[in-house]
Subunit: 445 residues, 3 copies
């Protein structure tokens, strides 16, 4: 309806000198911008991208539930549902206002976001009253951005599984999603100093994935490994309880990543933008495939047996690797970038074990190490990127996240304690902390 009016007024304006209803047409033009189509299409991109990235919350939950042992599955599921829910609330309470634009956070802003119009535009907003008619609806932008914030928290939960207490983990999640993540995201995506320094990170290899990875690494160091994981210099395998679930989780994440990277084009209303979103979809898929194939071949060569969990993490590492620049590479380069991500995983997982850093699901290799690689790889295809700015961004975000999350983990550790008792850990968190088994009828081998 609105578009129609718009067209008429555009035409009318051009015809002004000849036609008699100049006044009316000028009024119509004043109240209705002529370019509502890009606004609508970009909003659709954010809604579609947003629900796809939402779906990644299920992907993380299934991946992690499949990779922990049966006695900790209910806990892992609980953490994933709870962390997403808390992120949803605290991101609009604090995070979103903190992130856009940098430094305008205020108590009034928060209260407005909560009880007033705040984050969302008015019901049935007119083009003239839209927050940014040249962009997209604020609600769709918020919805999309929220999902990125929640994904960051999901990354942490996998690494720390099977020994961290529920509530300290959730408190960390609240701080991560309301402050730690949004603050550094504003440095790049809020137009802050990293953005000004020429640091490029299209969809967040650093801003999202490495932040989750650093927070997980810091937590893993403070928390220590699971009981019995490293004994007499050997690494004791603790196989995941349900690889079908882990595979499902990986496919869900792969699917969600089309929204993650594609939506980050932040525009879909022109031929160039929709073609770019298409490039991004194709490249994202190519990188995931590359990562999976690299891990498949490498584990065959190294261990004579392909390793499914490595292949899954290889695909995810491929996805993380392409996230900093999914647009400019060719399909071939995207595949290679993803492949290197897969290679990183295959070597990093045993390396972490040698360092006795116990990462239950492999989130540190996937999100942190492949995230660093992906951020560097931007220089391979994007002429605007400089290796200096990329390394600068990686280091700044890394130091900040390690310090900020380290402080939080340390305080939590000193006050309420972050680790379950030895007995609870051995019996499994499900019965000890929740009193509920995930698979109560299936006897354990």
């Amino acid at each position: 309806m609105k578009l129609t009016k718009t067209l008429v007024s555009a035409a009318a304006l051009l015809a002004l000198p000849t036609l008699g209803f100049a006044q009316e047409a000028a009024e119509a033009a004043a109240e209705a911008p002529v370019d509502t189509f890009p606004f609508i299409m970009t909003s659709v991109l954010f809604l579609m991208g947003g629900f796809l990235v939402f779906w990644m919350a299920a992907g993380f939950a299934m991946l992690e539930a499949g990779l922990v042992r049966g006695k900790n599955v209910t806990m892992q599921l609980t953490k994933n549902v709870a962390l997403f829910s808390l992120a949803s609330i605290f991101y609009y309470l604090i995070g979103y206002n903190l992130m856009y634009p940098l430094g305008t956070w205020s108590v009034e802003g928060v209260l407005s976001g909560v009880w007033g119009p705040g984050v969302l535009e008015a019901v049935g907003v007119s083009p003239a009253d839209a927050d940014d008619i040249g962009y997209a609806s604020t609600g769709s932008d918020f919805f999309f951005q929220l999902m990125f914030c929640a994904a960051t928290a999901s990354i942490v939960s996998g690494t720390l599984a099977e020994r961290i207490k529920l509530w300290p983990f959730l408190i960390f999640t609240v701080i991560l999603t309301s402050i730690i993540y949004p603050l550094q995201a504003s440095w790049k995506w809020g137009g802050g100093f990293l953005d000004e320094a020429g640091f490029l990170d299209f969809a967040g290899s650093t801003v999202v994935h490495s932040v989750g990875g650093w927070a997980a690494l810091t937590g893993a160091l403070i928390l220590g490994p699971r009981i019995g994981k490293y004994k007499d210099g050997r690494v004791i395998p603790m196989p995941g309880s349900n690889l079908a679930l882990a595979t499902l989780g990986t496919f869900i994440l792969w699917l969600g990543w089309f929204g993650f990277n594609g939506g980050s084009q932040l525009a879909m209303g022109t031929v160039g933008d929709v073609a770019d979103v298409s490039r991004i979809f194709a490249n994202t898929n190519a990188a995931a495939a590359g990562g999976a194939v690299a891990a498949l071949i490498l584990t065959q060569l190294m261990y004579k047996k392909p390793d499914l969990t490595m292949i899954l993490n290889g695909a995810l590492a491929g996805l993380v690797s392409i996230t900093a620049e999914p647009l400019t590479p060719s399909l071939g380069l995207a595949t290679v970038i993803g492949m290197i991500g897969g290679v990183i995983v295959v070597f990093a997982v045993p390396m972490l074990d040698k360092l006795k850093i116990d990462d239950v699901v492999g989130a540190i290799p996937v999100h942190l190490m492949a995230g660093i690689w992906g951020t560097i790889a931007v220089v391979l295809s994007n002429g605007d990127a400089s290796i200096g700015a990329q390394l600068y961004g990686i280091v700044v975000v890394g130091i900040y996240t390690v310090v900020a999350s380290g402080v939080v983990w340390f305080i939590l550790s000193m006050t309420m304690g972050i680790r379950v008792s030895e007995e609870d850990e051995i019996n499994g968190l499900d019965m000890a902390e929740l009193g509920m088994e995930a698979y109560p009828e299936f006897s354990k081998g």
Copy 2:
């Protein structure tokens, strides 16, 4: 292509006085409405919303399969696939024609819907021949509405699990989806007397969820509780066999709900409409998060241990609560509305058990009680709502559904019987009625 023509003719019409090709332009305008863009975008909304709500059928199946005991999983899966399939057929045979518009159902209409053009517009329909060029394609509207009808039936299957016979349940489903649901839906959404009375129900807290809930409650009362559920004044826990599956089902439903509520905006072709759909997505997510967090905190406080199944049902109750009005609340209010839904679940589940109403998956608290709450909560943010009209709608739909489904359950009960034999129930419906186990290799504890 069509849009291009349209624009040209719009411009041409305005230029009429000066330009020489008035005749040609007038003809073009006559054959092509100027506003095809909203029609296309709203059809896209219905297709997208429709496939998301379709996905909820998988969500119900996984949630219910995860919450029943292992010996009844195959049956629960069978019921869910079968009920959706039967709903798909009987809704177009009878329901859709019965629902829009009220009272125009006819044998000819049905035959037309089945073998003639009926429900679907002609192949390659022109703008002039479209059923309603100001709205959306009839096929997309049908597809979207069908999914709502099927969701209503899915709600019933969970409550009655583990003891109802397959075929009587499916016969009930046929009657529910072809008559009971569409008739009352027409009272509100077909422009019937509830709509005229000022009753507001945006996406169906009452029209969909409470109807499913009432039908489930009526069935549960007639069917009675599972053997051994209530013994010597105690409630015997019968834990679900697969909480990973139940969590997956919840995430699927959560995802599908964006389509459920967002699609109910029924328009996406203007700035105001797409911004409204965005508001709805954001509010729907906030309410789900609120419900989950409320159940998390409350079960921690009440039982000292968070209860995952309560958290999952809390999220679902939050979603049901916001369904009657997902547009007008602020994010903060949406969260609170969802939280109260979560609180309702935590108190209603044990309350039902005290009344010895055996609801296997908690569908009555989630869909009926939170549905009533959500319908009332419309008055909190929508200035057009009156508490009287809301209560009127709740009561009318409630009485109607209880009576209508009660009659059907009673007749089924008297004729073919609705409950399996005691022996079959104890052995499990999978082997007794289907001869097929869901997890044949996993020995039972």
Copy 3:
């Protein structure tokens, strides 16, 4: 943004005779085609359809993992992730260039697709530089087509499960997705001789599903049945290990099919096209429902017990059946076409067993037999179809695929061998070939 410019120039052009800025307007018109809207909407259709069909890869993985025995689940998951990844790479390396247009494959084309612009249009392509401004972005087309190619390979993996070696299977996948599939697809969809002969196959009952089915059948004949499947003239049931997973897979495939068939409209920018996509969604759902209900009723009548795996395969057969013509049937006819697909499955599964063709998941009845039926059924509603052309297409594609895949299977069989050792097969491929169980903690019954 682009659309706005476009509108202005369209209006300006019409006003040329009167207005003074003819030169400027003409320039604007020259640089910007007026019809970018259909290009954008069709690209969106491909992106949305593409991610839905991508999701089918997860569906095949879950379906197959659920229908194999527990000792082969990890292998089945590994095969599915690996085949999709390899298809993703080899389709752009070779397949896509081979398919469109017929016969223009070249080393340069491949190198361009890999390292140069090739498959993808330039970043931020202008309307004037788009490969086909009257169609959609090349990246979105590639993304969509790739998913079809991968689906073909997914079909094969189910039939040959539980006894084929990993690497020969993957080599076959590479040849299938880079050569066998694209070559015959070009005969129809690349405007080749089958297309010219009047052969109709809207979304690929023959081009995709029967090709997968023929390749699977050929493989099954060369590979032979599983040890112990046919003994002393009896068929030994080998029930799937996880019917919840199989049901999830079916729902995923059902969901993905909306993209599969709907996207094959290849246009969404006009009222007629979006209404057609809507028809396709509705008909696709009706056919799936018909297939499921037919199998439900038939297994009840024949065996006195509904068979869930038959119902799932019935739904899939309904989907395959409608795939050759999802647009022109009425809802009633679509349901009947799907129902016949479901009937085919119920009779074909035991028939294959009589012939001692061991198809682990029922992919041959579902994809090959229902695919043939669906291709023939085009004549029931599409006036342009001739039974002769349909049979011609079925036979040509069938002979070609059997010969081509037979040669590949035979060579693989003679060189590296395609079947695992008897001992490995009995112990299960998971431990023998991968050293990793899918459910390590669940003891076997």
